[in-house]
Amino acid sequence: MPAKKKESADSAVATAPRLAVRKTYKLFIGGAFPRSESGRTYVVADSKGQFVANAAQASRKDARDAVLAARAAFGKWSGATAYNKGQVIYRVAEMLEGRRDEFTALEVPASEVDEAIDRLVWYAGWTDKLAQVVGGANPVAGPYFNISSPEPSGVVAVVAPSQPTLLGLVSVIAPAMATGNTVIVITDAPRVAITLAEVLATSDVPGGVVNILTGSAAEVAPWLASHSDVNGLDLTGVADTKLALELEQAAAETLKRVRRPAAGLDWTADPGLAPMTAYLETKTVWHPKGL
């Protein structure tokens, strides 16, 4: 009798459908994937309005933690050679290429994934060329070498655009990274952003160089705009002009570098140098010659 019972239990196991193991979309801070400190989540729906995931909703304390992580990572990342930074960003492109199916499954068009990968390669190429273009030797009236070289600003907070998701994220993260800054991104596209975080986490990007906060820019961005330890603010993804103005005013208190591109940006067009030079500062050195 017990033997028979066991048999029926076995067959029940065999016929039961396998439970899918769903991914928990958390934040990306300091190279780790923590839940929000606040414990909050919000529901993410796909384009048909169907529930697909609960994503972590970042709070101001997550933003503060992200600033600490970004600041801690800044010394090493800004000090890495341009060649090394280029290699790391190229590696991100390689990893993204290998994971393109994950992004198309998240309703990112295949052409957009291609654009994102190409853009990463483009920025990877710029890392060791930018200094020659925006820096250089200046002729001065005196027996000196006068050399200007671009230096990263520090920690840059970015509000990523809602659309296009992947290309938008890559287009705001890569230029700040390529110039040696560390980045904190606020995005409302948690699935694409956290999948991109998985790409970054496996691409030799040191922990803390890119930190991703998912949730409401209106809630979190003001804390970053007024944070004294943030050096730059990118308002590309802020569509609400009132909010953008408030953020600009808050950023002015601590003399942040603020970038706010005009609305209606063509994401597939050549981005030019502006996204990279926005968070560079020029250091000029005088050196006596003829000694």
Binding site: R64, V67, R71, W223, S226, H227, S228, D229, V230, T254
Partner: protein
């Protein structure tokens, strides 16, 4: 805990009596102490309570520099910071004390004159304590003569760990005498004492020998101050007050870097020893980087936005 032994004056009569007393102290439940300390660390202290705690913590800081590379200039800068930790806000309280090596005491004494800030000097062959007693006594006398009004001594962990308790006791008594009017803080170096039982024994030993403060660590050994170790020391000073009527202070030192940590300690002081110890005369933080974090949090509460390390001096 107090029912264990004969009158306390008897226990230091001989090595055997002292050993019997110290080993007769109740053992520490390690898991229990860790869990209690972790539990107290989860209290949420916000808004006005937090502002109060931050100001109290600033007043409790022994601003410390104990590096081989210390210079008079660095000590003077530190003293200026001790007087006015936040130059942008005159309402910010000054710290409790400056803690330096004996050779820096004259410089610090001059820089602190008239401020009411205490001047602590480490002595007795800090941080190892491995020197003859005569050298330790001279070290102490020199620091006091140069103007230190608090002496942070280290116990001989070698003697303590090999069970020569009376030797440690007599050494502390001798240093206390050499201190004269200066307060004596006894550094147990809990990171080297191995067990919580030893921390409890060393605490009682230091208090019996006349220490005015018991201090966790030199800051040169990891782990330095931890919450459970401080908890055991707070229990010891509480029980010592009950038994003898003499109040002894506690100073965790080393490894306390954030406001959050400091507030956890304050919660523990209040819960274990009682609010009688929530005062710079009875509880201190030995720290250097902690002060900047306290100032940043203070600024955050005052202005409503997060502050950054660029706005505060490094030393």
């Amino acid at each position: 805990m107090t029912a264990t032994i004969s009158p306390l004056s008897e226990v230091t009569r001989s090595d055997a009596a002292l050993r019997t007393f110290l080993h007769g102290l109740p053992g520490v439940d390690r898991v229990g102490a860790d869990a209690r300390a972790a539990g107290l660390g989860t209290r949420s202290i916000k808004t006005t309570a937090k502002a109060w705690a931050i100001d109290l913590a600033i007043r409790m800081v022994d601003l410390t520099t104990l590096e081989g590379s210390d210079t008079p200039g660095k000590v003077r800068a530190l003293c200026a910071k001790a007087r006015q930790p936040d130059p942008g806000d005159p309402a910010c309280p000054s710290v409790a004390a400056i803690c330096v090596y004996p050779s820096m005491v004259p410089t610090a004494a001059e820089a602190l004159r008239g401020s009411g800030i205490h001047l602590a000097s480490v002595a007795t062959a800090f941080p190892s304590g491995q020197a003859p007693l005569k050298v330790k006594l001279d070290d102490t006398r020199a620091a006091v003569a140069a103007g230190a009004d608090e002496i942070d001594m280290v116990i001989s962990r070698g003697a303590f760990l090999s069970g020569r308790y009376l030797e440690v006791f007599e050494e502390i008594t001798a240093i206390k005498e050499a201190c004269g009017k200066a307060h004596l803080k006894v550094i147990l170096e809990t990171g080297e004492l191995v067990t919580y039982d030893n921390v409890r024994r060393a605490s009682w030993l230091a208090m019996l020998a006349g220490g005015d403060f018991i201090k966790t660590s030199t800051g040169k050994v990891a782990p330095a101050a931890t919450l459970p170790v401080t908890l055991i020391m707070l229990e010891a000073v509480r029980d010592f007050l009950d038994t003898t009527g003499r109040k002894v202070g506690v100073k965790p030192a080393g490894g306390i870097r954030t406001t959050k940590d400091a507030i956890k300690y304050l919660v523990m002081v209040n819960e274990i020893a009682g609010d009688g110890w929530l005062d710079p005369d009875w509880f201190r933080f030995g720290a250097s980087t902690l002060l900047n974090d306290l100032l940043m949090q203070r600024t955050k509460l005052a202005t409503g936005h997060y502050s950054g390390p660029d706005y505060f001096t490094l030393d």
